[in-house]
Structures are given as structure tokens and as C-alpha cells.
């Protein structure tokens, strides 16, 4: 068995090894109840990474997810009293729209996705700062519990966040593996020119992929906002790097075409375990970003498909 055939299993092996390692360091980590709470904590990040997977799967990137989530926390907080549970619809539509515009700008206007999404992110940030009046807002506790109380709490020991994450994962997995759209995504990621030649409407597929990324980022922002019971233009800061790391560590390379949403699940779990390990090993919180930056470089270097890039710019 060569290294190449083993490659798809790397994320799983890494996850298993890390869990055993952390478990050996601190046996209480393997206690099911603590595992569940650790995982439930990370659900917003997982949802964001799930959306990002679509953008990376087609060989692009979405740097706006963090700002979209920021905007949504503000939108949700400001309009909760007025629209109740339907504020979720506004949030999701906002995320979809921002993603779709990013997609349109990259595909139809030939602006590289990292610039287009970076710029769209700043437009979203501007909107968040405008709506929030540059203050940290908080939700009315009663209105929050009435509309979104169902998001948290447990049924038969299973936190509702995990159920939501599971449903979204199933949805994303269905989209990716059981629909023509999913097959088209893979075709675009594997070779865009070939996809164009075979008559696929590549532009529409790419725009949809970015729109999905925005939509999932919006859902993540909504959960985040309900969880912290408030909104702020900086609330989700720090999530971008973790979302990118989760996707790439999971084995969806920056060049696209392989990997997918299940990989992102594994990648997110790896991120969680690493973060927990840092707490047990008493690694200073300030070092986390540095360590994840280095992990990011290693993950990209290991997963990227260099045969696809004749020139690395």
C-alpha cells in the first residue's frame, strides 16, 4: 500500500491518533458526557466550515464567512422583536444574497474569489456596523426563548445543537452526493475547462456554491447570536481561520475536486480535539492562533494537488 492510496484516510487516522493521545493525557476527556458538550460547543464553527467546503470544493475560497456571520448576529438581534422566528428567514436570505453576489463577481466579472469575497466581507462588515450603531447589542431574553429556545436544550441526552448540525450535514451530504448539482460541483472542482466543454453551466454552479457558503455562514451566525444572546459587528471574529483549517485538515484540498462535507466533519473534530488538548496541556490561549496558523500551512502542503497547478502564483 503506497502513501497515495492511504492519503484519503489521513484525516481519520489523525483524528483517531489525536483522540487517543488526548485521552491518554487526560482520561476524563473520553467521558461521553464531556465529549458531547465539547462537540456541541463547536456546532456554529462546523456549520460555517460546512458552507466553506462548497467554495473550496470548486477550487475557490470564501473569506467573507466571518463577516457574514457578524452581520447576521446583528440582523438577528435587531429584528428579533419585530419578526420573531421569521428573522431566521431574513438572515438566511441575507447570507444567500451576499454569497450569490460574491459568486457572480468571481465568475462573471473574473475577480479572483479571494479578492471578491474579501471585499464582500467588508461590505457586510460595514452593514453590520451600520445596523448595530457600533455597539454590542443584546437580545430580549423572552423573545429569544420564545422564537429560538428550541435551538438549545437536550432531548434524551442529545443536545439540540447536535441535531441541527446533523440535519444540515445530511442535507449538505445529500446535495453533494445524490444530486446532479453535487456531481456538477465535483466536475467543476476536478477540471473547470473540461466541465465547460461538457456543456455544464459552470457559472451557475459556481454562483450557487458561493451562495451556499454564505447561507451556511448565516445559519452559523444565527446560532451564535442566539447562543450568546446578542449581536455585535465583531462577534464571530477568529472563526475564519478555524473554518479554513477545518476544511483543509479534513482533506478537501485548496485545489478542489476531492474531499467533501464528511471530510469537513472530521476536520472540525480534529480542530476541536486540538483545542481541547491545548487546554489540557495548558498551552496559553494567546498561542492558539499561532499554532493553528502553522497547522494550516502543514495541512495545505500535505493535501494540495500540485499536478493541477502548472504555475503556483
Amino acid at each position: 500500500m503506497s502513501l497515495e492510496t492511504l492519503k484519503p484516510y489521513f484525516p481519520w487516522i489523525t483524528l483517531g491518533a489525536l483522540v487517543l493521545l488526548v485521552g491518554a493525557l487526560n482520561p476524563s476527556f473520553l467521558n461521553p458526557a464531556s465529549l458531547v458538550s465539547v462537540v456541541a460547543d463547536i456546532v456554529p464553527l462546523f456549520i460555517m466550515a460546512l458552507g466553506m467546503t462548497f467554495a473550496i470544493y470548486i477550487g475557490g475560497i470564501d473569506l467573507s464567512v466571518q463577516q457574514v456571520a457578524n452581520l447576521v448576529t446583528v440582523v438577528a438581534t435587531v429584528y428579533l422583536a419585530q419578526f420573531g422566528v421569521f428573522v431566521a428567514v431574513i438572515c438566511v436570505l441575507a447570507g444567500f444574497a451576499i454569497g450569490a453576489v460574491s459568486g457572480w463577481v468571481t465568475t462573471r466579472q473574473f475577480v479572483p474569489s479571494f479578492v471578491a469575497t474579501l471585499a464582500m466581507g467588508f461590505i457586510a462588515l460595514s452593514g453590520a456596523r451600520f445596523l448595530s450603531g457600533e455597539r454590542a447589542l443584546s437580545m430580549n431574553a423572552e423573545a429569544r426563548d420564545a422564537s429560538f429556545g428550541w435551538m438549545f436544550g437536550t432531548t434524551a441526552g442529545v443536545p439540540h445543537e447536535l441535531v441541527i448540525a446533523g440535519i444540515l450535514l445530511a442535507l449538505a451530504w445529500f446535495l453533494q452526493t445524490r444530486t446532479t448539482f453535487g456531481r456538477a460541483l465535483k466536475a467543476v472542482g476536478a477540471g473547470e475547462l473540461a466541465a465547460v466543454s461538457s456543456g455544464l453551466n459552470v457559472d451557475r454552479i459556481k454562483i450557487l456554491a458561493f451562495a451556499l457558503s454564505g447561507t451556511f455562514a448565516a445559519i452559523a451566525g444565527l446560532m451564535f447570536s442566539v447562543k450568546l444572546s446578542g449581536g455585535d459587528a465583531n462577534l464571530a471574529n477568529g472563526f475564519l481561520i478555524l473554518a479554513i483549517v477545518a476544511v483543509l485538515v479534513g482533506g478537501t484540498p485548496l485545489t478542489g475536486g476531492v474531499g467533501g462535507v464528511i471530510n469537513t466533519l472530521v476536520g472540525t473534530l480534529i480542530v476541536v480535539v486540538i483545542r481541547t488538548a491545548m487546554v489540557y496541556l495548558e498551552v496559553d490561549a494567546t498561542m492558539q492562533q499561532m499554532i493553528f496558523g502553522i497547522i494550516l500551512i502543514v495541512a495545505i502542503a500535505m493535501t494540495i494537488d500540485r499536478s493541477k497547478m502548472r504555475i503556483v502564483k
Binding site: T107, V111, P112, L296, I311
Partner: protein, 332 residues
């Protein structure tokens, strides 16, 4: 993709029109913006206000010049926020450790900070070239590492630089403008010299204009790239030094906002993201556009957060304008 066949003649004139437009549009935009804000609020045209714009623009100009060289090669560098923070913090620590005033050995902290900037840029270039990671991702990751490193070094504290000689960068004025503006001008000339009068400068254009051709002509493209990132690191550190001189504080947040500001400035100035076109003078115009917008909106009484949205739209428009649609089939 709309590929339309046109006759040779119209294509040539269209190309000429496009070229002229792309070349002069940034300067035109700058002049129109100045005229607009001056009409809305005459105070905009005062020397005091221009000094304010230039003080704010000086650190960003240094950072933007650094990234100009990278964009000329067709790559991109997103590591500036981390690099600026690390350089600022390193400088502040050494400056205080060596005596805390320019009159003592503390001046050594200045070349040291530049050395740190060069080292970070060099590592950035190595990661990009040797591991074959696209530059936007390699530099973004390095930026995260840099910000984290600055955080570890300071532990979240702010370091004050109160030396009057060093703060003279801001407080000493000549002809109405503080010294830091002249320092930035000096480094702009240095950058211009590097761009036009050195082999390295010509090589940036060669790599950006066509990497295949550059390689075929025997150019060591990888070496040029690594040197480019190192040079960018040096300019980032100069930006950090000016930023510390302006505020008198070095902290992890010193580098905040530099990424989007400088990329926007370079692109809006007319340096093409595809490489090979543009240069440091374009970047000067671009930085001025960005800061005239920021200042003008405050002067006419608009809230600061509108600036982010305006810049976001501007950068997209600028990339669209500078893109020759006939020469590319798709982008990632």
C-alpha cells in the same frame, strides 16, 4: 464567457482606449474625489487637512508599496497584519531595552525591526515557493502566525514609546507636514529606484508579465519570488515603524486593517492583480484615493463605517476594470 469577434481595427482602437483609460483612471478618480469633497466642504482643501491625510496614509503607503512588488509578480501577500504587528512589538521591546531614546543605542532597534520584517518575508516566500502553496493562502496563514506571535510577545499589553526624539516623526513639522511624511516619501523614492533601476525590479515585471517566458529566458523565478517577499517584509516593517511613531503605542492591534487597506490601495491605483502592469507610483495614487475617501467622508459628516463598504465596491470595480476579459477563460 462572451467571446465576440471584432474586426482588427476596432480591436486595436478599443485596446488603446482601454489602456489609456486604465492608465489614467486612478489619477482622474483622485482628482474628481478631491474636487467633490472640496465643493462639499471647503475646509477639505486646507494644508492642515492635507497633513492629516498624509499622516494617516504614510504607514499604509509603506505597506502598500511592499505588496505592490508581490502583486507585480502576479502573486499576493496577505501577511502584512501579522508582520506589521510583530515588527512594531519587536521594535518597541528593543527600543525600551536599549535605553528608550533615539539619543542612545536604542536606534539599533530600527534596523533590527527591519531585519525581523525581512526574516518574516523570507519565511513567507520560502513557504510559498518551496512547499508550492498558492501565495494568498501561504501568506494568509503566515499572517495568522504573525498576529499570534505578536500576541504571545505582548501578552495582550500595549507598549508605549514616549521618546520625544522618536515621536518627532509626528510632532516635528517642516513646511506644514510632519517628518514621517518625508520619511515615507524617501522610501517611496527608494522603492521607485528598486522598481526601475535594479535587476530585481525588472525581474518582478518579467515574472508578472509571463512566468513561462521568464523561466525560458533563464531567470531563477523562485529566487526572484523569495527576494520579492523578503523586500515586501522590509517595507512592512517600515510601515510598522511609522505606525508606532504616529500613535506612540505598539501592540498586537497595530497591524489591524492594513491588509484590506493596502490591497485595495494597490488595486485601485491601477496595478493589475494578474501581474506585470503598474508600479509604486500607481500605489501612491491608490493610497491617496483610499485615504481621501476616508478623510473626505469624515469631513462632510458621514460615519466612518461607510468607508469599508465604499472600499469593498471600489476594489471589485478596479479589478473588473483592469481585467482584460479576452485573455482569461476562468478564475478560481
Amino acid at each position: 464567457m462572451a467571446i465576440t469577434e471584432t474586426s482588427g481595427k476596432t480591436r486595436v482602437s478599443a485596446a488603446l482606449g482601454r489602456e489609456a483609460l486604465v492608465k489614467w483612471a486612478p489619477l482622474l478618480v483622485l482628482l474628481v474625489l478631491c474636487a467633490f469633497f472640496a465643493l462639499m466642504e471647503p475646509r477639505f482643501l486646507s494644508t492642515r487637512n492635507f497633513a492629516r491625510i498624509l499622516i494617516a496614509a504614510s504607514p499604509a503607503l509603506m505597506v502598500a508599496i511592499g505588496v505592490t512588488f508581490i502583486i507585480l509578480m502576479g502573486s499576493i501577500d496577505l501577511s502584512m497584519e501579522g508582520t506589521v504587528s510583530v515588527c512594531a512589538v519587536t521594535f518597541a521591546f528593543c527600543f525600551l531595552w536599549l535605553g528608550g531614546t533615539l539619543a542612545s543605542w536604542a536606534w539599533l532597534a530600527i534596523p533590527l525591526a527591519m531585519l525581523v520584517g525581512a526574516a518574516l518575508g523570507f519565511i513567507n516566500g520560502l513557504v510559498h515557493v518551496k512547499l508550492k502553496i498558492p501565495s494568498f493562502m501561504a501568506s494568509l496563514a503566515m499572517g495568522f502566525v504573525g498576529t499570534g506571535l505578536a500576541m504571545v510577545m505582548t501578552g495582550g499589553d500595549r507598549i508605549r514609546i514616549e521618546d520625544e526624539l522618536y515621536r518627532g516623526l509626528l510632532t516635528e513639522r517642516a513646511l506644514g507636514f510632519p517628518l514621517m511624511v518625508y520619511v515615507a516619501g524617501l522610501f517611496l523614492l527608494v522603492a521607485w529606484f528598486i522598481q526601475t533601476r535594479t535587476t530585481l525590479g525588472r525581474n518582478f515585471y518579467a515574472v508578472g508579465g509571463g512566468e513561462d517566458l521568464a523561466t525560458a529566458s533563464g531567470l531563477n523565478v523562485n529566487r526572484v519570488r523569495i527576494m520579492g517577499f523578503t523586500l515586501a517584509g522590509v517595507f512592512f516593517s517600515v510601515g510598522a515603524l511609522l505606525a508606532v511613531g504616529r500613535i506612540g503605542i505598539a501592540e498586537t492591534a497595530t497591524g489591524n486593517n492594513f491588509m484590506f487597506l493596502s490591497i485595495t490601495a494597490v488595486v485601485v491605483g491601477g496595478t493589475a492583480l494578474w501581474g506585470g502592469i503598474g508600479g509604486v507610483w500607481n500605489t501612491l495614487v491608490g493610497v491617496l484615493i483610499v485615504f481621501v475617501i476616508g478623510n473626505g467622508m469624515v469631513v462632510i459628516g458621514l460615519p466612518g463605517y461607510v468607508q469599508d463598504a465604499v472600499l469593498g465596491i471600489l476594489v471589485i470595480l478596479a479589478v473588473i476594470l483592469s481585467t482584460d476579459r479576452r485573455s482569461i477563460s476562468f478564475v478560481k
